[in-house]
């Protein structure tokens, strides 16, 4: 009995921390897909760039961990502003095919650049002292890192909630999602709003990539490898439903962790099979009925 409880707690902690990292990375894509109707397959690239910046600053320049997280976010936000003006602005209203091709192109460029700069192998991460080790939570010991990730993830969730529900920026954004033309007519600068939202989403992806670097190893293929997981979250949350995406991300994290723990040989499959079945079953999202 105690063993089962301990295993369940393990799945809970690892699954939730994993799910929250997925949420932090995916939320930007949820925003871009819901708001701007853009299939941004390069979203994982922002997470990868964030991760590489943070880890290389820590390894090479010896910057403190939390400062590297901030640096990664700031650099990626600035980069995303440039890319939005150069590339993404042309994709608004373009066909899905054009969007896929363009963003895959960006993906390949990032993969190539990472390989040239950091080599083809996994880029090792060394966690700072205060995140190493584990604490005893009654039934078993847990890594401090996982607990840190959960706290950070929850903080992001609260901040996002406040941003969307309690600020005029959030109100305008929701208005623009609901009806872009009317929002424009009443004087909301939708273009600027999109630019800001895109920057926030990309910055969060960078944060997720940097914080999650010890969970999702940094390698040149990162932008493609985790794209699938992020897309699962976006698809199942119903393309643009921010609240649902939190739930879906945590469910995905839990199922993936449980799958790998219970059936190690086929653990990697569980999540993909789930995606396929659920998407075929409910193409409009897991909580589609309730959301609308």
């Amino acid at each position: 009995m105690e063993q089962i409880l301990s295993a369940a707690l393990f799945v809970l902690l690892y699954g939730v921390s994993y799910g929250l990292v997925l949420f932090i990375i995916a939320i930007g894509l949820v925003i871009t897909m819901g708001l701007m109707q853009i299939v941004n397959l390069a979203h994982g690239a922002f997470a990868a760039i964030g991760g590489y910046i943070a880890v290389s600053l820590m390894n090479a320049a010896g910057m403190p961990y939390l400062a590297t997280l901030c640096a990664a976010v700031v650099v990626v936000v600035l980069l995303s502003f440039v890319l939005e003006r150069l590339i993404y602005v042309r994709l608004y209203g373009a066909s899905h095919l054009d969007q896929i091709l363009m963003t895959l192109g960006v993906n390949f460029i990032v993969i190539g650049a990472i390989t040239i700069l950091f080599g083809p192998n996994v880029y090792p991460v060394r966690l700072p002292g205060f995140l190493q080790g584990s604490v005893d939570l009654g039934l078993r010991r847990f890594e401090v890192y996982r607990i840190f990730v959960i706290c950070l993830g929850l903080a992001v969730v609260v901040c996002l909630w406040a941003l969307f529900e309690r600020t005029s920026f959030g109100a305008k954004l929701r208005a623009a999602v609901d009806n872009r033309s009317i929002a424009q007519v009443i004087g909301i600068d939708v273009d600027r709003l999109f630019l800001l939202a895109f920057g926030i989403g990309s910055g969060l992806a960078a944060l997720g990539g940097a914080v999650g670097a010890a969970m999702l190893p940094l390698e040149p293929y990162y932008p493609m490898k985790y794209l699938m997981l992020v897309l699962v979250v976006v698809a199942l949350s119903g393309y643009g439903n921010i609240r649902a995406s939190l739930g879906v991300a945590i469910i995905v994290g839990l199922i993936d962790t449980a799958g790998r723990l219970l059936v190690p040989a086929f653990g990697g499959f569980a999540i993909y099979l789930l995606l396929i079945l659920l998407t075929v079953w409910r193409p409009d999202g897991l909580f589609a009925g309730r959301a609308s």
Binding site: M33, V39, I87, R90, H96, L97, D98, I100, L101, M102, L104, G105, V106, N107, F108, I109, V110, I111, G112, A113, T115, I116, P120, P220, M224, M228, L231, V232, A235, Y239, A265, F266, G268, F269, Y272, L273, L275, I276, T279, V280, P283
Partner: protein, 330 residues
């Protein structure tokens, strides 16, 4: 009456033109001029067939799939397994590979092709990932990471042996490319092909005029999967080896890049795109393998940004511009 005019307009571009012979003239010239590069030429033919199959579904029927690598892989593994079990006659092996691929497309099509847009893109990507993972785990069947090496096939038509210089493989793959192109042309210029384009342009209207949209989509999906299976089987035969990379999701993504590069929805674009892609890839890899991804990424962004029609589209514009200039001078 107007409808008839429009549909005949849709068929105009499929009249035979002498320009279509150019790729094959180039291919024959290549055979005599660059005998050292025949393996690259064979790879180009195989890739072109795969790109053609993708153009059929994406360019004509508007089914945006990222999972076409599955059918290439199924064709390749079918051919390899047949050879392993003593069946080495090459042409029938290719047909068998195509049939197995088409069969799986017929099974999965009715489910997948109900989806549109983003869900379709993601489910096809998901299926491709699962299948490639599954092939890795089913090592008793697929050889897992080691693949199926040392495949041998009988001489083509019992006459042409698979020579070390790659001449047989090249001409054999080129012949298949010609066959596939003729089949694809016939299909897209038939009323079925025009109906597919109707579905791509306005599915609702096609439904309203009573077109059996789903079964037409499944039909082209299966046909395209069969063609992808041909490419896969040829890949197995020309390399004598099939590994997991035949099923890799990237195959489908790169093929998409090729048809966009050459010009989407025009069959020859797939051939030109595959050739340019493979040559650039070859050159980039000679130079430094890691610059390859960068090069293809830049190519993709530039093509989508500047020339929607790809290389052939740009040539069309160029020739139209020249013609206009000539006419104004005369």
């Amino acid at each position: 009456m107007t409808l008839v005019v429009e549909s005949s307009k849709a068929l105009v571009q499929y009249r035979f033109s002498t320009c279509e012979l150019i790729p094959f003239a180039v291919a024959i010239a290549f055979y005599y001029a660059l005998p050292d590069y025949l393996p690259l030429g064979t790879a180009i033919c195989v890739t072109a067939i795969f790109a053609l199959s993708l153009d059929l579904v994406i360019g004509y029927a508007g089914i945006v799939t990222l999972g076409h690598s599955v059918f290439f892989g199924i064709g390749a593994y079918s051919a390899a397994l047949l050879s392993r079990n003593g069946w080495g006659e090459p042409v029938s092996t290719v047909i068998a590979g195509a049939a197995v691929s088409a069969f799986f497309a017929l099974l999965s099509g009715p489910l997948l092709l109900r989806l549109r847009g983003l869900p379709l893109i993601m489910v096809t990507l998901g299926v491709a990932s699962v299948v490639s993972e599954a092939a890795n785990k089913l090592s008793w069947l697929t050889g897992g990471n080691d693949g199926l090496p040392g495949l041998t096939f009988d001489p083509v038509f019992k006459m042409f042996t698979w020579s070390i210089d790659g001449k047989t493989a090249y001409l054999y793959a080129l012949a298949w490319l010609l066959v596939v192109l003729i089949v694809a042309r016939t299909v897209v210029s038939s009323s079925f092909g025009v109906a597919l384009q109707g579905i791509r342009q306005n599915e609702l209207r096609m439904r309203l005029i009573g077109a059996p949209v789903l079964s037409q989509l499944v039909a082209i999906y299966a046909l395209s999967a069969g063609v992808a299976g041909v490419a896969g089987a040829l890949y197995a035969q020309s390399n004598g080896f099939v590994g997991l990379e035949a099923l890799s999701v990237d195959q489908g993504v790169f093929a998409l890049a090729m048809i966009v590069l050459g010009g989407i929805g025009r069959l020859h674009g797939a051939i030109v795109g595959a050739a340019v892609y493979m040559v650039v890839q070859y050159a980039a890899q000679q130079w430094d393998p890691y610059y390859w991804m960068l090069a293809i990424g830049v190519m993709l962004v530039l093509v989508v940004r500047f020339s929607k029609g790809g290389i052939l589209g740009a040539l069309d514009e160029l020739s139209a511009g020249l013609k206009r200039r000539l006419e104004s001078h005369l």
